[in-house]
Amino acid sequence: MDLDTSNDVLGMDVVEMVNTPIDDLETESVDLICLVLDKSGSMSRFQHVMKDCLDRLRIALVGSKAADEILLSKTLFDSDVIALSGYKPLKEFSADYSVGSVTALYDAIILTADNHLRYSEFLRSEGMNVKAVFLVLTDGMDNASRASFQEARAKVEELNAAEVTTAFICFAATADLRQQLNTTAANLQFRNIADASADESSLRLIMDQVSASVISHSTSVVNDPNNFFSFSSKV
C-alpha cells in the first residue's frame, strides 16, 4: 500500500483520508502513538489476550490528562501489511486483533513509518505541535519482508532524527530468540528496547507498562527519547 500525497481530494490532503482530518482535531498539540504489532501465526495463542490488552490500553489512555491530544495508530503485520488503521482519536480506536501467517517485520516498519512521517509533517505544516511514539512488538525475526534490513534501519533512523520516541518489545519464547530480537532491535536503531516472555502474564504486564509510558509521554513537556520504558505501571 503506497500513500500518494501529491493531490488534494475534496479539499482534504490525501494523508487526512487515512488518518484523522485536521478540522476534526480540537487541539493544537498531538501525541501520535503508533503500535506496530506482530500478528503472525505464532501469536495465535495470544489473540484474545492481546485484544484485551489493547482495550485496557485504550481505557487507560482515555482516563489520562492528555487524552484529547492522543491519536492512536495500529498496524498488524504478518506476511502482508494490510491492517494499517491510521491515526485516530481514542474513542475511535479498535482493539481488534487477528492472527495470520509469517512475519514481514521490515515492511511493516517502513509502511507504518512512512504514514507517520507524512501525517506528522502535514500536521506541523498546519500549525500543530507534534510529539510521537513508534512502538513495535514482535515474537519472531523477519522472514517475509520485501524490504531489506538496511531499508528498515534507515527508516528507523529517519524516525529518530524526527525526534520520534522509537521502542521495540521483544516478545520471545526462548532466551536465544530474546537475544536475537534484542540484537536486531538495537541494530535497527530502536532507542528503547524491552523484553517480555512469550506468555499471557508477561504480555499483560508489558502492555500495562506501555500504557504508563504513553501517559507519561503525553503529559510531559520535555521527553527523554531514551527512557520510554522507565515509568511504572499502576497495575
Binding site: I22, E28, E126, G127, M128
Partner: protein, 223 residues
C-alpha cells in the same frame, strides 16, 4: 472563547508571554464577563500582575477594587521602603486592561490603555475598533505612582474609557490585546475572521502557530 498566544518576538527573546485573560459568567442569567491584561514589555514581571488581575477581576467586577487588592499585597511586602514599593509597582503592575460586561440590553466595555474592541453584527460582519488612549500606554498602575515619580501627561491620573454596545445593534462583543494588529492587514486575516465567526478556537490557535513569525507580539482574544 479565550485564546492567548505568546508573540514570536517574545519566543526569540526568551521572555514570558505577558498577556493574560479570563472568560467567565455571572448571575442567574449567566451573562458574559471578560477581562484581559497586556503587560508592559519593559515590566520585569508584568505578566504576574496581569495574571493576578485577571484572576481577581471576576470576583469584584470592578477594575479599581481588583487593582487595589493586588497593590495592597505588594505594599505589605515592601511598606518600610518607598523606593522598593515604587519599583514593585513598576515591575509588576504596568499592564493595560480591557473588560466586557454583558447585561440584558447591552455590552459595556471598559479600557485602561489600548487594544481592540471586536463587534460582530447580526449579519455576522466583524469590526475591529482600535482603542488607544495616548502616545504612551495609559497603564492604570500610574494612579498608584502619583506623587512618587514624574508621570508626565499622566501626573493627573489615568482615567478609564467606557463605551456601551446595544444588543439591538450587535450580536456579540469581544476584546483583543494590541497583538491583533499583526493579523489585521495580513494575508490570513480573511481566514482568521471566518474562523472567529465560527468560534473555531483550535483552528485559530493553529493558524497563529502557522504564521507565528508574523504575529510578533503576544495576543489575547476573548469573544
Amino acid at each position: 472563547m479565550l485564546i492567548t498566544k505568546i508573540g514570536y518576538a517574545h519566543v526569540q527573546n526568551m521572555s514570558n508571554c505577558q498577556d493574560a485573560g479570563v472568560e467567565t459568567e455571572y448571575g442567574d442569567d449567566k451573562f458574559k464577563l471578560f477581562c484581559l491584561a497586556d503587560g508592559c514589555s519593559e515590566g520585569k514581571h508584568s505578566e504576574v500582575g496581569a495574571k493576578l488581575f485577571c484572576k481577581l477581576f471576576p470576583k469584584y467586577k470592578d477594575i479599581d477594587t481588583a487593582f487595589r487588592c493586588i497593590r495592597q499585597l505588594f505594599y505589605e511586602m515592601s511598606y518600610t521602603d518607598p523606593q522598593e514599593y515604587v519599583q514593585t509597582i513598576i515591575d509588576y503592575m504596568m499592564f493595560t486592561i480591557m473588560t466586557v460586561c454583558e447585561s440584558a440590553e447591552s455590552y459595556q466595555v471598559v479600557v485602561a490603555g489600548d487594544g481592540y474592541i471586536i463587534t460582530q453584527t447580526h449579519e455576522d460582519k466583524l469590526n475591529f475598533i482600535p482603542v488607544d488612549q495616548g502616545m504612551y500606554a495609559a497603564y492604570y498602575g500610574y494612579n498608584y505612582l502619583r506623587g512618587f515619580v514624574d508621570l508626565k501627561q499622566y501626573n493627573t491620573g489615568v482615567e478609564l474609557y467606557s463605551t456601551t454596545f446595544n444588543k439591538q445593534d450587535v450580536k456579540a462583543v469581544g476584546i483583543a490585546s494590541d497583538g491583533l494588529r499583526y493579523i489585521l492587514g495580513s494575508d490570513f486575516q480573511e481566514e482568521f475572521e471566518r474562523l472567529l465567526i465560527a468560534r473555531k478556537e483550535f483552528a485559530i490557535r493553529r493558524l497563529i502557530n502557522k504564521h507565528h513569525s508574523v504575529v510578533k507580539d503576544d495576543i489575547t482574544i476573548i469573544i
